[in-house]
Every structure is written in structure tokens, then in C-alpha cells.
């Protein structure tokens, strides 16, 4: 369709222009109405408004629509709500495959099967975020460039219909000379920090144009933020692991050259004097603290046979809300376990028939030797289990690497035993020994021999274990930069308002129109104040030209 886009003032406008970019005369359908003008983006054509769109233009046009953007926001909002109905998988300690059905019945099963149990990591949720990001970029570009063009080359003398169809309008005769009036009003406008431009008896006053860029700066910040969030899924940028360090020990932080030592772990509870009546007698924690030292390995790091050479690089008392931080690596207090665990036992071997005692020998719970020589007997360590249990096939297995229920299978050779040796399963913990029925497991050898610890002086317990969360997140600084930019944009856009006032004279009649992007209430009182100072008393409300305010 052919569309004449040339204005009577001679300016050639783009297709889709609502108000002539030069004189402001309403074009097309806008010409026919008497309603206040649609001033959004100053009536310029957006980039997406093209005469013959191709495929890319169509995609661009789709994402450039604010309507689509609002739909995307609403869909994301509803999807987010779905994700809060039941606990998400990442918060569970239980097996998700059974958890939802067991706790929430059929609905829970459906919830799990639909993948809503991991809503926020699902491909469709991430797609939504990517689409919002695309919409942010395209919506902004589509509007900010034409808007910038329109605002940077404004005409001072506007078309009369442009002025009288603003939402804030004053028309009326004035007394005295037109030039003097313009001078008077210009002076008052300057007091209100307007930039005033005149052309004969036409005037344009403008202030706070920068506030128009607020939304776009906000969007730039949000895009950066979203990119930083998406970048976190790139491997290598992001490390997140937990280390358990018993008091006094130094553990390697796997995958790095660092080692971390727990010098002392403290947990304090409030005393009853510090607590209000209703909480007396409860264990209300006051402080968790790990005195931590961070080491860097400088030599023999991957040598299995040698001890690594460590160099202290940082030292910090880690408490909640105050992590250890060193070159982007952070160690957070995450949890603790004060249950005493065996660290070292000194058992003896007893020949039950003769009553003889051999040993003691030193058994390091975590790193035992492979052979022990006690008296005439040799104990060969065949296997060790840190947390003894029976596997699904009935064979012994270990559930974890933490010594929660340690067990050691020795092959004992020596006098009174078969030549090839006899197997003996030893549980250092008395409670495990009873629970797993050590004597029954060992069968006949249990009647003749026993490995046991004589008294607590032969047991060394480890201190409390602190759980530290080790994090390295290279994307985080960009998150903060994005958030900061976004915040600046929001403040610019919401706490300042772009205000413009145009006026002109036609046969002795003053026509004044004013426009703002937000807060017409304030705009009207400002115009009324300025007019009042220039000698025309008006009620702010009377300037309202009807129509909706934004």
C-alpha cells in the first residue's frame, strides 16, 4: 500500500510515523481525532514498522512488541509459581523419584513426571528467560534509536494541532507584547531548571531528558544480569563443592591447588539468661566458627608417594555471614557434625584359649597400614569399610568415605591358625560390633581369637567436623554490575520526569502545550506556577485536556 509520508512542512517521515518528526503535525489516523495525542516515543516510527517485512523483520517485530514482552513476563511468573508448589529437587535429601509420590500422592507423581520438580533448571524455563532477554534487547533497540533521533532534532515551532492536542493545554489571549511575555515566561522556566529555546515568539522548554534513557539503561543492566546468569552454566566458570574437615586436619580442595585446615571449630549456644521465657531450655545457636587456614600447594602436589609442600596463603575465622575469601575462592560455613568419631585405636590381639595378649598395635581409622605384626601373629588388611553395610547382593560394602561405621577385614596368620590364615572382621566401635554381630560373622575364629581395645585411653577421637562450602563463581561480579546498572536506570526513569513545554502565538492567542512521560499531576502544577508568575492565574486542574494520564 502506498502511503504518503511527507508532511506539509516538507519533512519526509518514515512509514509508521504518527507525529511529523519535524513540526509535530499529527499524521494518518491521528489527524482525524480530537483526543489528546499519542505521544509515546514522540510519535516516531519504530524500527519494526516497515513497509515490506521479511522473515527477520517479522521475528524482530514479534520480539519488539511490548504485548509479547508482557505475555513473556506473565508466563514466567506463572511458571515460577508452579515451581513453588512442592519442594524442588535440589532442596531434597531424599530420592526425588520416590519422594513426590510418597509425600504428595498422585499429584506429586504428576508433578515429578512433568518435570516441575526442577522447574528452574528445565529447558523451557531457561528458554523463557532467553526469550525475555531477546525481548529486552529488541524492544529497547526498536524504540531507543528512533526516540534518540527524534529528541535530538526537535523543532521549536510546533504545529498548532500538536500543541492543542497535548494532555496539558492552555489557550487564551494575553495582554501586552508577545515578545515580552515569551521573555517573562522563559525566565520563570529557567528558574525551574528548564532549558529554554526560542524562535521568534515560539518557545520550547525542556528538562530532564536523561530520564527517558532510564528504562533502556535498566534493560541493559537486566540483559547483562541475564547473560551472567546463563554464563554460569558454562563449565569452569563455576565451582561449588563441600569439604568436610575434622578439627586439626588439613584437607585438599579437590580440583584446585588449595588445601584447607580446620584449626578449631566452635559452636556456641545462647544461655538461658540470654533467652526469653518461651525459648528457655532450647538450644538456640549463637555462633558457628571455623578457624580456617588456606594453603596453596607449591611442590609435590600430585606425587602419591610424597607429602605435598604447602604454603599458607590466607587465614580467617569463618562464621556464617563472613566467609574466607582468597582470589575469587570462597569458603563458607555450611554445617558441622560434633558427633565424636574414632580417629585412632590401639587394639590388642587376644588368644582366648591361652589368655595371652599381643600388641597393642596402632590402627589409624582413615589411613590404616596394610600389615601389622603383633607378637607371633601377622595381620594383613584385606579390605576396609568406612561405613559398613550390606549391599543389595548381600556382600559387605561401604556407604560413604566418612568413618561412621568403620570395619576392617584382616587375614590373621600365626600359631594356632590355619596356614593360609583366617579371616577376621573387626569393628572398632562397640555399637557397630553389636549391631552387625561381629562374633557371628567371624564364626569359629571368634571362639579362639579376639581383637579389642582395652579402655578409653587407647582410643583417640577426632574433633568436630566442619562442613565448608567452597565456591568459585567468576560470573558473580557481572551479576552485581548488571544489577547496579539496572538500578541506576530504574532511578533515572522513575524519580525524574522528562518535561517539555511548547508555546506559540496565533493572532494574539497564546497556545501552550506540555508533555511529560510520567506524573502529569506535577506537570500541571508546574505549568500553572509558571503561568502564574507570568501573569496568568490558572487552577492546575483546569489545564487538564482530558484523556488518560500516564
Amino acid at each position: 500500500m502506498f502511503q504518503n509520508t511527507k508532511c506539509e512542512c516538507g519533512h519526509q517521515n518514515h512509514v509508521g510515523t504518527v507525529l511529523c518528526e519535524s513540526c509535530g503535525k499529527p499524521l494518518g489516523e491521528e489527524l482525524l481525532s480530537d483526543e489528546p495525542l499519542e505521544m509515546r516515543y514522540d510519535g516516531v516510527a519504530r524500527r519494526s514498522q516497515k513497509a515490506n517485512p521479511n522473515l527477520i523483520d517479522k521475528i524482530w517485530s514479534f520480539f519488539s512488541s511490548v504485548k509479547i514482552a508482557v505475555y513473556l513476563i506473565i508466563i514466567t511468573l506463572l511458571a515460577s509459581v508452579l515451581g513453588t508448589i512442592f519442594t524442588q529437587e535440589n532442596m531434597l535429601t531424599e530420592d526425588p523419584a520416590t519422594y513426590y509420590e510418597m509425600n504428595h500422592g498422585t499429584i506429586g507423581k504428576i508433578y515429578y513426571m512433568l518435570g516441575l520438580s526442577h522447574t528452574y533448571n528445565s529447558w523451557w524455563y531457561i528458554t523463557l528467560l532467553v526469550m525475555i532477554g531477546t525481548s529486552l534487547v529488541i524492544c529497547s533497540l526498536d524504540r531507543v534509536l528512533p526516540l534518540y533521533r527524534a529528541l535530538s532534532k526537535q523543532q521549536i515551532r510546533k504545529h498548532l494541532r500538536f500543541i492543542t492536542r497535548q494532555k496539558v493545554v492552555y489557550t487564551g489571549p494575553i495582554e501586552g507584547s508577545e515578545e515580552q511575555f515569551v521573555e517573562r515566561i522563559a525566565e520563570q522556566l529557567k528558574k525551574k531548571r528548564y532549558k529554554v529555546h526560542t524562535e521568534g515568539t515560539a518557545l520550547l522548554a525542556e528538562k530532564n531528558r536523561f530520564s527517558r534513557w532510564g528504562p533502556y539503561i535498566n534493560h541493559i543492566g537486566l540483559i547483562l544480569f541475564l547473560l551472567a546468569v546463563l554464563a554460569r552454566s558454562i563449565p569452569g566458570l563455576h565451582m561449588d563443592m563441600y569439604v568436610a574437615v575434622p578439627e586439626g586436619q588439613t584437607n585438599e580442595i579437590e580440583g584446585t591447588e588449595y588445601y584447607i585446615k580446620n584449626e578449631k571449630f566452635t559452636v556456641n549456644y545462647y544461655t538461658d539468661d540470654e533467652l526469653p521465657d518461651s525459648l528457655k531450655g532450647t538450644a538456640r545457636p549463637k555462633l558457628y566458627e571455623t578457624k580456617a587456614v588456606l594453603y596453596r600447594c607449591v611442590e609435590d602436589c600430585n606425587e602419591l608417594t610424597k607429602e605435598p609442600v604447602l604454603e599458607e596463603v590466607a587465614r580467617h575465622d569463618i562464621v556464617l555471614n563472613d566467609p574466607l575469601s582468597y582470589e575469587g575462592l570462597k569458603a563458607y560455613q555450611s554445617g558441622f557434625d560434633a558427633t565424636p568419631r574414632l580417629e585412632l585405636v590401639k587394639p590388642v590381639l587376644i588368644n582366648k584359649q591361652t589368655g595371652e595378649e599381643f600388641g597393642p598395635f596402632e590402627l589409624d581409622i582413615r589411613n590404616p597400614q596394610t600389615t601389622f605384626q603383633v607378637g607371633p601373629y601377622t595381620l594383613n588388611l584385606r579390605s576396609q569399610y568406612m561405613e559398613f553395610a550390606y549391599g543389595s547382593n548381600g556382600e559387605p560394602t561401604t556407604l560413604s568415605r566418612e568413618p561412621n561405621a568403620p570395619a576392617y577385614l584382616f587375614i590373621i596368620t600365626g600359631p594356632g591358625l590355619k596356614e593360609e590364615g583366617e579371616a577376621y572382621l573387626y569393628f572398632p566401635n562397640q555399637i557397630d560390633k553389636l549391631q552387625f554381630n561381629q562374633d557371628a560373622l567371624n564364626r569359629s575364629i571368634a571362639d579362639r581369637f579376639e581383637i579389642k581395645v582395652n579402655g578409653m585411653e587407647n582410643v583417640k577421637l577426632s574433633g568436630a567436623i566442619t562442613y565448608l562450602n567452597i565456591r568459585k563463581d567468576s560470573a558473580v561480579p557481572y551479576i552485581w554490575i548488571g544489577a547496579a546498572i539496572s538500578m541506576i536506570g530504574l532511578i533515572m526513569g522513575f524519580y525524574w520526569h522528562h518535561r517539555r513545554i511548547w508555546l506559540r502565538f496565533d493572532q494574539g492567542t497564546l497556545s501552550l502545550g506540555a508533555h511529560t512521560n510520567k506524573n502529569f499531576y506535577g506537570m500541571r502544577s508546574e505549568v500553572a506556577w509558571v503561568l502564574g508568575k507570568a501573569g496568568i492565574e490558572v487552577e492546575p486542574k483546569s489545564l487538564d485536556n482530558g484523556g488518560n494520564k500516564t
Partner: protein, 420 residues
């Protein structure tokens, strides 16, 4: 109890009553417009001013409460539900004062005040004693995050108040068209919900006055990652008669109420927040009490509540109300973004080692933010104004309240310590 804490709790009571009086004076200002023996404009101006000054005194007492409690306890009073809700009430008053300074509409207080009164009264339902901080809350960000987030939400509350005023002003209760009837129904429903909240406060204090008590043993079965079942039993105390007992529980003791010796029903299992049973029972009681209260009001007034209020709103420019509602939200939005999202992320990054963890409370803060950004886009770019915008402001505040209270009620999460 030390001197400062005592001063603080006295100021709280003073603030509460000053707010109540402020509200009454606002009602006189508006209700007295039609009294025959006076000039209505001067009357509104005079009483509007008195009401405003009394409200300001209330805010001053409230600030005294806040700072005295801070000084007396050595920690900022924003760490549990009581402290947070009183702070929210105070923030609403501050937001109201700011918006009122811009627009000078005497009647905004007519809606902001009762909202504050309800929130402050709601706060006092919770235990008021000072609870020493647990380690995870011991941070400067407790001060920064909670106060800014609450202030942002307070502006949304003022936006809600003005939005509701707008609806009461423009929805004509005499019209019979289908559309008008629908609007009337929803306005009435909104007012009903407010009455239910009042009902909640009334019922809690009534049974507290009667010293009602019931106790249950609740068994909770947990299955850990190794497939081992463990059972824990917890004592759950009720201060309202149990219509719903906790899920999977037995009664230990129960005061009789109207011949009721045993709980009638059991709370559904999917309500898994802290003390879900008790809270659910309270909700049911609130609805019952609120409905009775609403019924009494209807009997007394013989009209729908909206139809009673509507005539008093005449003379207020609806476009001003529309603008106030929008401006309050526009002012609150950056504050909310900063407090409830950015500061929250900074704190989460320090305390929980990640800036975002999809904890239900975090998600709901995001939902609130998405909602209000949709509101702003609809208004600024799609021209949604007037009634549609006012409804959005009303619904928005429902979402805010769900984020603050509802999440703690029905969903368990890291923020659960904010409840009781």
C-alpha cells in the same frame, strides 16, 4: 525487662491507639461532609488536618518503639514476624506521608490508616519478646535488606489503598449492567477479605483472653537418602480450638469449646510449612469469624459495604486516585528491586554462598517483581489505566502479602524462621 524495652512496648500501644484515632478522625472528616450545619469543604479540611496530625503522632510513637527496641535489645527489630510486620506497618505510614506530601489528598489517610492498623494489630498476634539472633541473621544485611524490602512493599500497599479507593469511587453500586455487577462483586469480595483479616485478629485475641489451650503430638516420618525411615514427634500447641488438628497427630490435651472435645478434622498432608496444622486451623477460624463479622455489618447497614462507602467518595477526583496509585507503585518499584532482590542477593551470596537458590521466598519476591514490572509495562506502554490499573494494584498487594505471610504459611523454606 530493661527500661528501653518497656518504653518501646508502651510506645507501641500508644502508636496503635493514635493510628486508630487517626482513622476515626478521617472517618469524621469524610462522614461529616454531609452534616447539614457546616460548610463541607472547611469541615473536610479541618478534620483532615486533625486526622493527619494524629496519624503523624502515631508514626512518631511508632518510630520511638522501633528505635527504643533496637537500643534496648542491641539488634534491629526486624528479625521475626512480629518485628517485621510492625516494621511494615511503620513503612506504610512513611510511604503514606511521602505520597501525601506530593499529592495532598486528605482522604488517602482514610485508606492508608486502616491498612496500618490492621497490619500492626496483625503483628501483635505474634510473640512480642526479643529473640536473640541466630547466626545466619547476624549480619548488617539484616538491617539493609529487610528495611528496604519492607519500604518498597509499603509503597505497593499505598498503591493498593489508592487503587481500592479508586474502585470504590468509580464502581457505581446502583448500576445494573453485567459489567458493573461483576465489578461490584469483586470490590465487595475485596472488602470481605479485609473483614476476614480483622476477624482473624479479633478471634485470636478473644481466645487469648479466654486463655484457650490445646496440645497435640505430631508424628513426622522422614525417609533419608539411604531409604531409612526415621520418626520424630513434635508437640504442637494451639491457642484456637482445633477444627483441624495437625496432620498425623494425637491429642494430648484440649480445653473443651462449645462441647467440642475432639478435633473435627485433620490438616491435609501437603501443607508442610512449620506448624502448618496450627496455621491452617487459624485460617479456617479467621474465615468463620470474618464471615460472622461481615454478616453482622451487612445486617446493620442493610447494604453492601461498597455501596455504603461509595457515596462518601464523591467529590474526590478519580483521576487523582488513579495517578496516586500508580505513582506509589512507581516510587516503590525501584526501592523494592533494590531491597527485595539486589540486597537479598548480596546477602544470600554472603550467608548462603549463592546469590540465588530458588528458595520459595526468593521465588515469590521475583514473582512480585515480575508482576509489578508487567503492571508498569501495561500502564506505560499499553495504556492500561483507570479500573484495570486499579485492579492490578489490588491484586499486586495480594501477591505481596502472600510473599510475606503466605509463603511461610504453606511452603517451607529457608525463610521459615521469619514465622513462628
Amino acid at each position: 525487662m530493661n527500661f528501653w524495652l518497656e518504653l518501646s512496648s508502651d510506645s507501641f500501644i500508644a502508636a496503635f491507639f493514635l493510628y486508630c484515632f487517626g482513622f476515626i478522625f478521617y472517618m469524621i472528616a469524610i462522614g461529616g461532609k454531609k452534616w447539614s450545619n457546616r460548610d463541607s469543604k472547611a469541615h473536610v479540611k479541618r478534620w483532615g488536618k486533625i486526622a493527619y496530625i494524629v496519624s503523624l503522632l502515631g508514626l512518631a510513637a511508632h518510630l520511638l518503639f522501633f528505635f527504643a527496641r533496637w537500643y534496648g535489645s542491641g539488634q534491629i527489630p526486624t528479625s521475626n514476624m512480629y518485628e517485621f510486620m510492625t516494621f511494615l506497618g511503620m513503612a506504610i505510614m512513611i510511604a503514606f506521608v511521602i505520597i501525601n506530601a506530593i499529592y495532598r489528598t486528605p482522604l488517602l489517610g482514610m485508606f492508608a490508616l486502616p491498612l496500618t492498623v490492621i497490619i500492626v494489630a496483625y503483628a501483635s498476634v505474634f510473640p512480642q519478646e526479643v529473640q536473640p539472633l541466630i547466626p545466619s541473621l547476624n549480619s548488617i544485611w539484616l538491617k539493609v535488606h529487610v528495611t528496604t524490602a519492607a519500604l518498597g512493599e509499603a509503597f505497593f500497599a499505598v498503591g493498593f489503598a489508592a487503587g481500592l479507593m479508586y474502585l470504590l469511587r468509580v464502581v457505581d453500586f446502583k448500576q445494573q449492567t453485567k459489567e458493573a455487577k461483576r465489578a461490584q462483586r469483586w470490590v465487595e469480595f475485596t472488602l470481605y477479605v479485609l473483614v476476614v483479616i480483622v476477624g482473624f485478629i479479633v478471634i485470636v485475641f478473644a481466645f487469648r483472653g479466654a486463655d484457650y489451650h490445646a496440645e497435640f503430638m505430631q508424628e513426622q516420618v522422614k525417609i533419608d537418602s539411604r531409604g531409612q525411615e526415621s520418626t520424630t514427634t513434635e508437640t504442637v500447641e494451639y491457642t484456637l480450638p482445633p477444627i483441624f488438628k495437625p496432620y498425623n497427630s494425637v491429642t494430648t490435651s484440649m480445653d473443651s469449646f462449645l462441647g467440642l472435645q475432639e478435633p473435627l478434622l485433620e490438616t491435609p498432608s501437603w501443607m508442610n510449612g512449620v506448624n502448618a496444622g496450627r496455621k491452617f486451623n487459624t485460617v479456617i477460624w479467621s474465615i468463620i469469624a470474618g464471615s460472622i463479622l461481615y454478616g453482622l455489618l451487612r445486617l446493620l447497614l442493610r447494604k453492601r459495604l461498597g455501596a455504603v462507602i461509595h457515596p462518601y467518595m464523591e467529590g474526590i477526583d478519580p483521576e487523582d486516585l488513579d495517578e496516586i496509585s500508580y505513582r506509589a507503585i512507581a516510587i516503590g518499584f525501584p526501592v523494592f528491586t533494590l531491597g527485595a532482590l539486589i540486597f537479598a542477593m548480596i546477602w544470600a551470596n554472603i550467608a548462603w554462598s549463592r546469590f540465588w537458590g530458588w528458595d520459595p521466598k526468593e521465588v515469590w519476591a521475583l514473582i512480585t517483581w515480575l508482576y509489578y514490572s508487567a503492571y508498569l509495562h501495561l500502564r506505560l506502554s499499553r495504556g492500561w489505566q483507570g479500573q484495570r490499573s486499579a485492579w492490578l494494584a489490588v491484586i499486586g498487594f495480594v501477591i505481596v502479602m502472600f510473599t510475606l505471610i503466605g509463603v511461610n504459611l504453606v511452603i517451607a523454606g529457608l525463610h521459615s524462621y521469619a514465622g513462628v
